[in-house]
Symmetry: C2
Subunit: 594 residues, 2 copies
Amino acid sequence: MADYRAPRDDMDFVLHDVFNVAADWQQTEELAEMMDVETASAILDEAAKVAENLIAPLSREADEQGVSFADGVVTTPDGYKENFRQLAEGGWVGVTANPDFGGMGLPKSLSAQYEEMLCSADIAFSLYSGLTSGAIMALDLHGSDELKSHYLPKMASGEWTGSMCLTEPHAGTDLGIIKTKATPNHDDSYSITGTKIFITGGEHDLVDNIVHLVLAKLPDAPAGTKGISLFLVPKVLSDSNGNLTEPNSLSCGSIEHKMGIHASATCVMNFDGAKGWLVGEPHRGLPAMFTMMNYERLGVGIQGLGAAERSYQNALEYAKDRTQGRGAKATRNESAEADSILVHGDVRRMLLTMKAMNEGGRAFSTWVGQQLDRAKYASDAQQQQRADAMVALLTPVAKAFLTDTGLESTIHGQQVFGGHGYVREWGQEQLVRDTRIAQIYEGTNGIQALDLLGRKVCGSGGKLLQPFTAEIEDFIEQIAPHKEWTKQRAQLKQALESLNGVSAEVLDKAAADENIINSVAVEYLHLLGYVAYAYLWLRMAVVAEEKQAERPYLATKIKTAKFYYARILPRIHSLVASIKDGSESLYLHDQDDF
Amino acid sequence: MADYRAPRDDMDFVLHDVFNVAADWQQTEELAEMMDVETASAILDEAAKVAENLIAPLSREADEQGVSFADGVVTTPDGYKENFRQLAEGGWVGVTANPDFGGMGLPKSLSAQYEEMLCSADIAFSLYSGLTSGAIMALDLHGSDELKSHYLPKMASGEWTGSMCLTEPHAGTDLGIIKTKATPNHDDSYSITGTKIFITGGEHDLVDNIVHLVLAKLPDAPAGTKGISLFLVPKVLSDSNGNLTEPNSLSCGSIEHKMGIHASATCVMNFDGAKGWLVGEPHRGLPAMFTMMNYERLGVGIQGLGAAERSYQNALEYAKDRTQGRGAKATRNESAEADSILVHGDVRRMLLTMKAMNEGGRAFSTWVGQQLDRAKYASDAQQQQRADAMVALLTPVAKAFLTDTGLESTIHGQQVFGGHGYVREWGQEQLVRDTRIAQIYEGTNGIQALDLLGRKVCGSGGKLLQPFTAEIEDFIEQIAPHKEWTKQRAQLKQALESLNGVSAEVLDKAAADENIINSVAVEYLHLLGYVAYAYLWLRMAVVAEEKQAERPYLATKIKTAKFYYARILPRIHSLVASIKDGSESLYLHDQDDF
């Protein structure tokens, strides 16, 4: 595999030239003093070094070795423990954690770049710290002061890690039917009993303690999703000074053997009257989880982006080196037996699709990160509300669209290698296998689409779509003077009109047709994704045009924007046609007809 | 994994009700006596038993175990040797081989069904006999009588297997630059020296001898593809009675560790002055390979179909059993905690996409098989020529479209399982991994597209497209009285017009633009694929309508046809838009811009 090189230039372009995130930082109390362009650059440069030099070199071998399980003990691949120690010492486990508890407190627009680099380096490794970040956030938002002061410093420092225990054998998407029980003890603790599956990082040998956040039902719980509570259940109990005392009554029963992320431990966790503490209000466990879900889901989306960027870098290096066949007469290297495969239109199609989707994806994840930051920090109430709405709308898109297109890109990147892409040694097939899970976990992409079209768009009567369309409409107005983009501007306008049109149509039909939303949701999510990328690509192109005099490499942005509009955006035609068809063709078949 | 059940009803429907292949058989000297509907059914029933009971049950475990390599020896998974022996004894290795040499001599329309079943059961296992079939055909078509009588009976009986040695480390797609050399010995043999890679079944322990067909260059060879000759190089030499004597000077240097088909040995083969015999004319090795390539490429396409069918069966069983969430009010099972996930529109979308593409794919592969049979057997010269043209046009589509859509289907089939689809135990992820290679080997799908649009469509000035479009136009005329299909008929007409339109446009542009063909070829191939399936689906629907009184289950065909037209065919809109864009947007980037 080619060495990974973090796309730092492009990250800076997106952060500062396109979104001007530093202006946001300056307006907030929490960030104005700690963060500016230079500090951000220094942090990301450091993160790049960690990803490039520490994490990436281990990922192939770690995939081969995988995690192993014996007698309840999970052993991670050689080098993981030392790498995790170094990651923790650099403060990267607590990169987004609250500074009050020792975290770095990075805004999401910035940590999104760090996460992308870490995922490019090794998705499996990234999950140990990624899940810890999620657990930190849930605890920080909903835990009692006592729980927070006891657990958060150890987690933010990476001394302890975290896990999220939601799924049970019979309950994945449908958490309302979980069976794990929590019964009150005589002190302030609870006894947790039940079996959880698919628990990422549920058990491992990287650190001495793991803080499980577990969904369970109290004895008096109402049925369904409104009767679920959240509990903190540590692997090892500790005294008031945080010194480990005795093991809790829980164990890892086995690990899954999976298609990919072989180096990530996916555990069956058995809680057998384990001691736990309530996090947040009784029966309010799901909402507590969902407050941090927006961050987590963007993070999972970024796994798709990170893998796709890595695959692109590898494929590009291979395409430049590999000579096979002949290009157009004018471009032939007559002194060689064959030309670089980069001369071939189809190889270009695959590489440019990856490039356009990766750079578009980086802009998109940063944009969503900026909205998350505004939702959290903005002092202006109206700006904050608007950002809240954007986050609600765009989070499912970020999770599903970045991973669906991420899988497509890693498949292209594998195809560029021909037979060598199928062989493990080059690493391209690993990226496909590792990316595939991101379409499934943290809510399948079908569920994301249902969330977008059902809960968000239709659930708000279409209102949640308005800030998004308004922003794009404003932009279309603004760029009217840019005559060289007249064609693309018209395409964007039409694409947005299509989105608005089908949104209204689905809303209208939904009143009488219970099935329509889930029948067209995935196509709808993709449509919204392509429209968002079209907006971002044109926005990037206009900025690049303004700044290319000082930075000539930005001329490439303009070319890639044109490629996106010519070859990628037309995908919406098929999506629109499918959405307009509605639910009828999906419900002709009776169960026995399948 | 669910037990595999061969879709025998659907195979019979396609073979007899839709394509009436028995009428073709009756008109040919070779087949009239040996084959009729009853015989064909008996053979396929027997094949179904082999696939279901013998091959399929081993595939999961064989994937886990994989092939192993030590000191030049390749060991296949437990049970493979015995299964191969039983396959051979049943006559299945020589299923398409010439009866003069002990083969079964099955027409391709029929053997395509057998191949699909074998691939549903286990793609990796199928390759050992599949490559043997290919080698048998190449030898039968181009070998001397002496070579044929010596080797073919042993190969058709499955006593010996075959391999095809084409690729070298620096030469895959571009075979014109291979380096393997053949120098004449003093007798009629040659000394073959060189290294071949990615050789499927190049070495294994299933049988005692392997007959390698090797591309190499004679000392006086012209440069490029016109200087390649084909040689038969056995693993073990044999006397005139076919008794093995001494090992030849060749060896397996290593095997590849791959994403999938773990139980198939992919070998590096070193020929070190190995004794070989010329097959066909000197320097005419590539054309000799290509005469059997049409059969082989359809066979690879069928791998995609077979895996997708298996994935569908598994996903359907899972979807029926798994309860999660609630369907529309009218369909709820109030006595249970949740409904079968088959009630959800998005699950239906995935399953119906698989079903429509699988049944459409089965019709397509059978149609191409029928054309291959007509090209080989038809006594009417005009019918034969027409079939030749259809085979030339449709073979690259069969290879690439069946595998591209096959991968899509196996991914849907995995997604239906949620997290369980990512876990190895259920087998859904293996089907994704095993299918992925079929898009790469035997000419990548990009190369298939280039063959279709460049060599076939543009190379013939559009003429090769005519029998295809004429057949569909005739059909559109014929079904004018079927008023219930007016809408779909109009859609088919429009789709065909789009295909014709972009074909003319590309042909026109190609005169001045060397890059256009390879810039739009993949989209073009997909467009042609969707149009072909649209034709076949409507053809099936009309037949089903006529016959559903006697066979009520055919009502389902009509529903699935409607689904195809509503949700799948609209994909062509985006493809047409991309093709119309041409090559410009792919060639804005200089090499350093990537």
